[in-house]
Symmetry: C2
């Protein structure tokens, strides 16, 4: 039990693989019974869809629902396709409304109405409330099954209300405090209610609320909840009236998905639906080929630029030696700026309207870096080759660093202003863009300095 | 209250900046009083250290401690330096032991003993327990102030124990269940205890525990807690005995720090200590210069490689035109592979010992991508230039893609095996490395095909 968790899952796979092949169901049940819910979920993600369905069917019903809740929507939808309709309907009815909606988004449109029809009236109504918000909004990820407290009640009354409603609620550890018109006027932790004297007034115990509107971006709301370390934040309508709660576990799911997507996009790949080793080589290649082709087509620009300057190159072949160094440095500087600004946008540290401030700062950073590299590179090149070549290299490094930092910093801002994911202007994209412009700068400077 | 949160903080800064300059304390108090704790924390991060200290002093004591807890350790330590010793001692005493230790790690060694001396015996003992674990381990991030339940007790008894100990505990929503020797045999949510009948046995209500040892990597344990959506996981010693709980808010802090670090490193920059706009141009440049210099030095390899093949270049100048395209494509393919594998390592989807599997898969992906790009690039080049040049370009694209994917995939694995952060082999690093090798491949193929 004390071993680190990750190896456990791989050990479990090694033990369970032959059991599945042999269809030895009792042995499978025995193998997974000591595993916790998250370990079983981790196992299912790593098995093939058919193998996963075999293991899933062997779980007790209660465990099955808990395991299912922990799978990503992609893996859930694969599993749903491998299970029988009756099995799916049973799990579907036991999910929380927000988890249900997340799954529906992944399923084919024909399946969704059939599943919804199988729900009780109450569950269908709760699900419909969540389904009413646009995709990507926090309204889709909130739970409508919360317990609220009234501003004018006492701690004892609020606790009694928790006890009465506990069976129907998903979120109970953070209670939104409401006034007569259902406006959120505060929040209070269950712990604070339990610590208070029964006659203490909720209004005196509550703290100021951090809320998000149901139409707000799910990632932004999730980050607010998670980085403040709240167990849940109230979600309100446009009139500040409570409509649901975003719980920390749902916030975590949103963030983990977004972080994986950002990390992938920044490297110029699409995120994987399943763990790396459970993804086929064909799927891996398909997450990369589109970007690689786009970038290769973009890179033909560099061929054209060099063709324009071919005569210069033939005259002074030594200029060709520095091409990879110069465009490489430009690409690196651009990547550094883009990485910093993309993260700052994700954390809400920079807003689209700060674009001019960012441009000015990145130009400043690029000029500082370029001056240093230019002096260094220029001097060394002067000594090894000749002073005029050194001057060309020094000036080009200065110009390319300043330009690359400015472009790299502003690109993610433009993306955000256009309402596309800033990480789409990935590092490879910026490198390619900076390559072509860097070459033009290089040859213009070379011609001027060398007088050709 | 319904507006999205991020603009609020910036509005608050705009309103508060002149008030701080005017030293108009009552107006500052009024401006921040409707803000929630996380909004004030967000404000403090974005002010200068001196301005932050002014605002911080105006908070009520209870709010001050809550705000302080939400700041990153870097910002906390800046603030501590700006406050008076007595003020620091007061806040320090009110922090949870794990938060205290996180702050101590950031403070100069001379300050730590002074602060520890100011604590009560009990608090000092609790802090010492956490301080005993190595830096980077989850033992440093756990809270020793938890409430446990006994396996052989009833739900009613367990709830009574929660009520009695609630004032001293940080983690109360997830209770570890212990046997007679303090081994963790299960966990139970406070909600499940409250829903149960008082006479129900804890042993029947609890679920299988997911635990981590106190010496385990903090990031790994935090990811286990967060991705399973647990509010806390038990932390045990090497004999499986409970020593503390890792709560979700502390897990979130660990993960947010690691994600920021990974995102930064992958772009070849060091993470920022404060929000982007609150960081000086000088500090921004200093987070980038070291990597940029290292990469520029690495890139001089490409100059040397090209020098070796200078005669070939002079003979067939057209070869120079494709240098940026070829090394760019190599860099992109390498980045894609590195990004995918770095994320897979962070998520625990790939272990160091899978290195051969990763190598084989990435070679497969690289060969598929290379075949496609090679056929396309070779054909187009044949038509625009001449067939022999087309053959050189096609073959080089094939070879470079296969090589770059293999190198990009294996590099993060090597880093992990050497116990350094896989993100240190950043995308710029891999590009630079692949550039030099790609050029050698290019000219070797060109010489062979063109017979020079």
């Amino acid at each position: 039990m004390t071993a680190p968790r990750v190896p456990d899952v791989f050990d479990l796979i090694d033990r369970i693989d032959p059991l599945i092949d042999a269809r030895d169901f009792p042995a499978i049940v025995e193998a997974i019974s000591p595993a916790s819910v998250d370990e079983v979920a981790s196992l299912l993600k790593r098995l093939t869809v058919t193998e996963g369905a075999v293991v899933f069917r062997l779980l007790t019903k209660d465990r099955a629902v808990r395991v299912f809740e922990q799978l990503s929507a992609g893996v859930q939808s694969d599993l749903v396709h491998a299970l029988k309709d009756a099995e799916v309907a049973e799990i579907f009815a036991d999910l929380d409304p927000d988890d249900r909606v997340e799954l529906l988004d992944e399923l084919p449109a024909t399946l969704a109405p059939r599943l919804l029809r199988g729900l009780s009236d109450k569950e269908r109504r709760l699900t419909a409330a969540v389904l009413g918000y646009p995709k990507g909004s926090v309204g889709r990820r909130m739970t409508p099954e919360y317990i609220s407290a009234r501003e004018d009640s006492t701690a004892g009354e609020a606790l009694e209300r928790v006890r009465l409603r506990i069976d129907d609620a998903e979120a109970i550890y953070t209670l939104p405090v409401l006034d007569d018109s259902r406006h959120v006027v505060g929040v209070i932790g269950l712990k604070d209610l339990m610590r208070a004297r029964p006659e203490d007034r909720v209004a005196d115990l509550m703290r100021r609320p951090t809320v998000a509107t149901a139409y707000a971006d799910a990632e932004e709301a999730a980050r607010t909840c998670a980085s403040a370390g709240y167990l849940a934040i109230p979600i309100v309508d446009n009139e500040s009236r409570l409509v649901g709660m975003l719980t920390i576990d749902d916030a975590m799911r949103v963030l983990q998905h977004e972080e994986s997507e950002d990390a992938a996009r920044q490297g110029g790949v699409e995120p994987l639906r399943r763990p790396y080793l459970a993804t086929s080589i064909r799927s891996l290649a398909s997450t990369r080929i589109v970007w690689l082709l786009v970038l290769a087509v973009g890179a033909t620009l560099t061929v054209q630029v060099l063709e324009v300057f071919e005569a210069t190159l033939e005259e002074v072949t030594v200029l060709a030696l520095f091409v990879p160094l110069l465009i490489g440095t430009g690409g690196n500087t651009g990547n550094q700026a883009a990485t910093t600004i993309t993260r700052a946008l994700a954390l809400g540290d920079v807003r689209p309207r700060d674009v001019w401030r960012v441009l000015a700062r990145e130009l400043g950073v690029g000029l500082s870096l370029g001056t240093l590299l230019g002096l260094l590179g220029g001097t060394i090149t002067s000594l090894v080759y000749e002073p005029r070549i050194g001057l060309v290299i020094g000036l080009t490094l200065l110009a390319v660093c300043a330009m690359a930092a400015a472009i790299g910093g502003v690109m993610p801002m433009i993306a955000r202003a256009l309402r596309v994911d800033p990480a789409v202007f990935s590092n490879p994209f910026i490198s390619t863009f900076v390559d072509a412009t860097g070459l033009i700068v290089y040859f213009v400077i070379a011609r001027a300095v060398l007088g050709i």
